[in-house]
Amino acid sequence: MTASLTVAERRIGLLISILLALMGLVMAAAAGHGVMSLHGFMALALGLGLAFILGGSLYEAEAPADRLSRYYDAPTRFGISMTLIWAMIGMAVGVWVAALLYWPEGTPAWPATSFGRLRPVHTTGIIFGFGGNALIATSFHVLQRTSRARLADSVSPWAVLIGYNLFCVWAVTGYMLGSTQSKEYAEAEWYADIWLVVIWVTYFVLYLRTLARRNEPHIYVANWYYLAFILVVAMLHIVNNLALPVQWTSAESFPIWAGVQDAMVQWWYGHNAVAFFLTSGFLGMLYYFLPVRSGRPIWSYRLSIVSFWGIVFFYIWVGSHHLHYTALPFWAQTLGMTFSIMLLVPSWASAGNAIATLNGAWHKVRDDATLRFMFVAAVFYGLSTFEGSFLAIRPVNSLSHYTDWTVGHVHSGTLGWVAMIVFGAIYTIVPQLSGKTDMASATAVEWHFWLAVSGTLIYVISMWNAGITQGLMWRAYEENGALSYSFVESVEAMAPYYLLRTIGGGLFLAGAVICAWNCRVTMRRAVGHATDRPLVAQPAE
């Protein structure tokens, strides 16, 4: 990190680190005990550690003078490493919670590792840790290449990435210690929420400033999606997390929303966490890495426009499909259902656009596992959005809601689409950042691909079976008009599927571990920079 900074930048970094340490100290002292104080100490330790590194390097050699004529890739490299670390954490916890549903005693009798606390560790660790780091890291890469401009600033990329990871660590350790707001995908407590807002604003400013320096008249589609991701996630995050802390010195808080309004706000957020975190940002990734890897032009510029605005506009309406038949008024459910159907068109338009882009490159798809990752991602994107629109139809949802069908849908989206596109992007970016043309081991990539595909299929198919069985058992009636099954019978019927899911997840995790190893070896053998599109000369900073 420090080698890429000038002395002046190191000073700024030092100042920020000291401020972070002070903030941590104040938090720890004010809270006195409990989670918030522990989180204060974490911030203190991180701030001191960073101050130590930066302070120690103050008098070392400056970053080379010609650095402004190159893209700034050090933060991306760090972000990719964090992506891989969180992938292993998040997926390992995923396998663990999957195992617990088959084998409930498979956890120490220690509150921190009980199912209900580990589950949000999985969701947050994987969505925000793995997904978020991947998005931020690739956005820096894509933004610079498609703007032909270096990042507008050298310190804030680090602030964004490190601060963001502090948020993730606060969140997951908080859940394990029992600190949670219980709002799905937004469980982190109020001070972590505020911290994330600060980070996000920094990210947004950096993004816009770099965009302003672009040397291309037009902003590339990938950046539209990354922008939508940054902006809308900020909006969702702030509104959904509005809360009153019980005291300024303790972690507990009460969301300002209650009951049915809270439910609507929560799923307006929750669904659009899917839309703008798990979809929009990754579509940005797809729109960059797919044409780069396949060497093909995007199939249709016009289709890109329609699918982008369709996704941005329609998605926001559909959150109420998570609340069919509940105490949410019927009218809101109807809107959620109908917009979900209309949403299918832009969703499939982007999946179709991606697949059609591969026209003329099918031989590459066959030979190149990396491109195959992206192809499979686009296919699963199409599959899961179709399934989503189907599940949003009220009568279908009456069967699927509350069951493992939803979980199957989730993972066809997250394993099949999100994780696959990330792996495709990583396998493209890591050799490039290491000055190589290929990953250290092509065989390992191939292995990873097949592990990921088979893991996904086993996971998703077993959950479809589980969910549909569950839903049918709950509503099955005998001819004489009496319910056929007790609830516990439906629990017992899940056992084989839960076992299969654990195995599928284990395969997927194994693939991710191989990927992490392969990336590490590749990065270790780094030899400067690969040939890149030349940067346009930058103004002095």
Binding site: I219, L244, V260, F314, W317, Y325, R475
Partner: protein, 242 residues
Amino acid sequence: MLKLHYNLEKISMGLVAAIILAASVGGIVEIAPLFTIDETVELPDDLRPHTPLELAGREIYIREGCYACHSQMVRSLADELDRYGPYSLASESAYDHPMLWGSKRTGPDLARLGEKYSDAWHVAHLINPRDVVPASIMPSYPWLTRSLDTELLSPSLATLARLGVPYDEAMIAAADADAAAQSRPDSDAMDGFIERYGERPAARDFDGDPSRLTEMDAVVAYLQSLGTLTDAPYQILTEGGQ
């Protein structure tokens, strides 16, 4: 149109503004009316807020992530009425910050759980579910037998009162005492509890150990209160049945 976009693509602030605009409409149209349409939440007269002990139990329910496996929302579907009881009304969670409707039923719905089982059963079940339900895959919670920390109860009630939950000054001031009283119905403090919360909340030694106020007391008190805060859903079912 195409030309318009062709130009929009060149102006980053234009793109930003357009995204914000496009992504705001749906949320506003769906959320704002939930505050303005009166029939969305029709507060029944008999709706009571949670007592301090129940509230403490609710916080533990949240802390342990029970909502990850249990819904508290009986949907308006005939088979759910049959299995669980009257469908849930918006008013039942009107004082719930946050709501705990849930999105997964690994375990059964709990919206109508109150007084379905005995306190002793809940204690046994929470300590080890497989002792009473051999096929259960629910985690054990043996640590709930530790003492309840009541430090934040008063400020919690005060915070909720600021958010519109009907807790008055007296309730806020006596939150700790009321939590203890509800689990020790023979104590003198019970009179004050009844004065503030009436006769309806169940007041018992929930965990079977009168000498201590434990997290188990709180969780069981909370579980026994589910579905008992108002009679309205039951009335709708019987009226509709005529």
